[in-house]
Amino acid sequence: MAVDTPTHALTGPATPRSRPARRGSVGARSAPYVFIAPFFILFGAFGLFPLLYTVWLSFFEYRLASGDPEFIGLENYAWLFGSPSFYNALWKTFTIGIIATVPQLCMALGLAHLLNYNMRVRNFFRISMIMPYATSLVAATLVFASIFSNSPGGLANVVLSLLGMEPIAWTAGNWTAQIAIAIIVTWHWTGYNALIYLAGMQSIGQELYESAAIDGANRWNQFVNVTLPGLRPTILFTIILSTIGATQLFTEPFLFGNGAGGGALGQYQVVAMYMYEMAFDIGRLGRASAIAVVVLALVILLVLINAGLASLRTRERPLPKTKTTTTTGGTR
C-alpha cells in the first residue's frame, strides 16, 4: 500500500503513551476543534449570522440608499400579508415548482431504470446525463430564451407550426411562460436526479430481484414491488431537495424574460425574484427580509411535512412489503 511509507516515516518524538490512548482519541485535545473551526466560523459569519440578521432586519424599515434601520415592529409583515404581489409570487413559485418537479422526477426514475441495464456505451449515457447539470443556469436560460422566442420564427414555434399548431408568445402567456421556465429547470436537473436514483437502485440487493423473478414477477412487477419500495428513501431525498430548490428558483425566471417583474402581469414572478427586487431594485431591505423569513418558514414547514409523511409510510412499510412478496409468490 502506498500509504504504508508515510506511516513508517512517522517515527517522531517518542512519547507514545503520554495520553490515555483510547480508541480514536488522537493527539491534542483541541486539534479536532481546530479542524472543524473553519467551517463553523465561515458558516457562522456568512450563513447563520445573515439568517438571524434577516429575522432582525424584518422588524425594521431599512433602505438600501441611506440611513440607519428604524424599528417598525411588525409593519413589514402587515404590508407583506396585504400585498397581492407577494401572494402572486408565492403561487407562481408553487405552480412552476409543481410543473418543473413532478414530470422531472418521474422521468428521472424511468431514465435511472434504463441506465441500470447492462449496456454498451454506458458511460456515454451517464455522462450525457450530467451535461445539463454542469452547464451554468445563465447559459442554459439564455439559450432556451432564444429557443422559446415570442417570434413566430423562433425554434419552438417553428416546431409547433410543423405540428400544425399556432405560434405562441411564450413570455407573454401565463402558463406558456411558466411551462417554458419549467422546461429549463427540468432540462437542468433530470439527469442529476436520474443518477441519484440509479445509485439508489444499485444498492438494492440483486437477490430481491432474483426471488421476484423466480416467483414469476415480470419486469413491471419487479419495478413496482422491488425497485420502488427500495427507492423510497432516495425518492424522499430528491423530493425534499426539489422542494428547497423550487423556493430558491431565481436565475431561470429572472433571465428568461429579460427584465424585472417576471413579465408584464408577473406571470413568472417567483418569491426569490420578488425578494431580490424588493431589496435591490426598490431598495427596501426590511421588507425583503420579511419576505425571506416567511419563505424560510414555509420551506421548513414543507420539509417537515415531507419528512413526516415519509416516516409514517416507512413505519407501515415492513408489513405490506413482506405481504407483497408472499402474494407474488402465492399467485404465480
Binding site: L114, Q202, Q206, F237, V295
Partner: protein
C-alpha cells in the same frame, strides 16, 4: 445536497445483505428500446449546447425568419469576439478563474480536515456538531442574500472578489462528503498507529489523511469548481461592477441593443471550460454525485 443522508440510512429498513450488494439488476441486457430512449434523451440533453453553437454563428435575423438554421454557420468566432469585447469577457473569465480556483482549494482543504475530524477523531460534542453541520444543508442560501449583502457592504467587500469567495470557502456538503469518504477509506488502525508513533495531528493529516483522501478530494474539487464557476445570483449582487463570467454574460442581454447571436456566442464562452472538464472527468463527477447521495 446530501442533507437527508443520515436519515436516509435510518429510513431504509431493508438494508440488503451485502453479499450481492451493488449491482441491482445490472446483469440484464438492455433491449433496443432502451438504447432508443436513452439516445433521444442524450440528444435532448446535448441539444442546447449544439444550438448555442448554431445560433451563435448566424446573424440574429436568420434565427427568427421562420426557417431557423440547424447547422453552424461561419460567424461563431466573429460573434465570440464581439461578446468578448462588449462585455469585457476576458477579464470576467480571469476573475472567475481566480474565484473558482481559490474556492476550490479552500473548500477541499477545509472540508477534508473537518471531514477527517468528524470521521476519525473523538471529541466532546462531535455528534451534535456534525448534526448541526448536516442541518445547515437544508438552509436555502438564497434567502440569506439580503443580510449577506449588508454584512459585505459593512466589511467594505462589495465588488471585491472576497465577497464571493468567503461564503463559499467551506461548505457543509463538502464536510459531509469528505467525512463519508474518510469513514470508509481511512482505516482507524492507520490513524492510531500514527498516534502511537507520536506523530502530531498535522503530520498525520499531511502524511496519511490527504494521500488517502485524494480521490474524494478530486471529486469534491470538481464539484466545487463547477458550483463556483456557475454561480449567478450572489455574484450578480456582490460583484456587479467587477463581474464574474456568468454575471458578465447575463449582462450582454441587458445591453441597449441585445444581439441574440452575440449573447449565445457569449454563453458558449462561459460554458466551454466546464463542458471540457465534464467530458474529461465525467466518470468521477457521476461517481461523486451518486456517492454523496447514497452512501450513508
Amino acid at each position: 445536497m446530501t442533507t437527508i443522508d443520515a436519515p436516509r440510512e435510518a429510513l431504509a429498513p431493508t438494508a440488503p445483505v451485502p453479499a450481492k450488494r451493488g449491482r441491482g439488476r445490472a446483469g440484464e441486457r438492455a433491449g433496443i428500446g432502451t438504447y432508443v430512449v436513452l439516445t433521444v434523451t442524450a440528444a435532448a440533453f446535448l441539444f442546447p449546447f449544439y444550438y448555442s453553437l448554431v445560433a451563435g454563428s448566424h446573424p440574429p435575423a436568420e434565427l427568427y425568419d421562420g426557417s431557423p438554421p440547424l447547422l453552424p454557420g461561419p460567424g461563431l468566432f466573429r460573434n465570440m469576439g464581439l461578446a468578448l469585447e462588449q462585455a469585457d469577457l476576458i477579464r470576467a473569465l480571469g476573475r472567475s478563474l481566480v474565484v473558482s480556483s481559490v474556492v476550490t482549494v479552500a473548500t477541499v482543504f477545509f472540508c477534508t480536515t473537518a471531514g477527517f475530524a468528524f470521521a476519525k477523531l473523538r471529541f466532546r460534542g462531535r455528534g451534535a456538531l456534525f448534526g448541526i453541520t448536516l442541518a445547515t444543508l437544508t438552509i436555502p442560501p438564497t434567502l440569506g442574500i439580503v443580510p449577506l449583502y449588508v454584512v459585505m457592504s459593512r466589511l467594505g467587500l462589495v465588488n471585491n472578489l472576497a465577497s464571493v469567495i468567503l461564503p463559499a470557502a467551506v461548505t457543509a456538503f463538502g464536510v459531509f462528503f469528505m467525512r463519508q469518504f474518510l469513514t470508509q477509506s481511512l482505516p482507524d488502525e492507520l490513524v492510531e498507529a500514527a498516534t502511537v508513533d507520536g506523530a502530531s495531528l498535522t503530520r498525520t493529516l499531511f502524511a496519511i489523511v490527504f494521500p488517502i483522501a485524494r480521490p474524494g478530494m478530486a471529486v469534491l474539487g470538481i464539484l466545487s469548481f463547477m458550483a463556483s464557476w456557475n454561480d449567478f445570483l450572489w455574484p450578480f449582487i456582490a460583484v456587479r461592477n467587477t463581474p464574474t463570467i456568468q454575471v458578465a454574460v447575463a449582462g450582454i442581454q441587458a445591453g441597449y441593443t441585445p444581439d441574440i447571436s452575440v449573447i449565445l456566442a457569449g454563453t458558449v464562452i462561459a460554458t466551454v471550460p466546464l463542458v471540457i472538464v465534464t467530458a474529461i472527468f465525467g466518470k468521477q463527477i457521476v461517481g461523486g454525485i451518486t456517492q454523496g447521495a447514497v452512501k450513508g
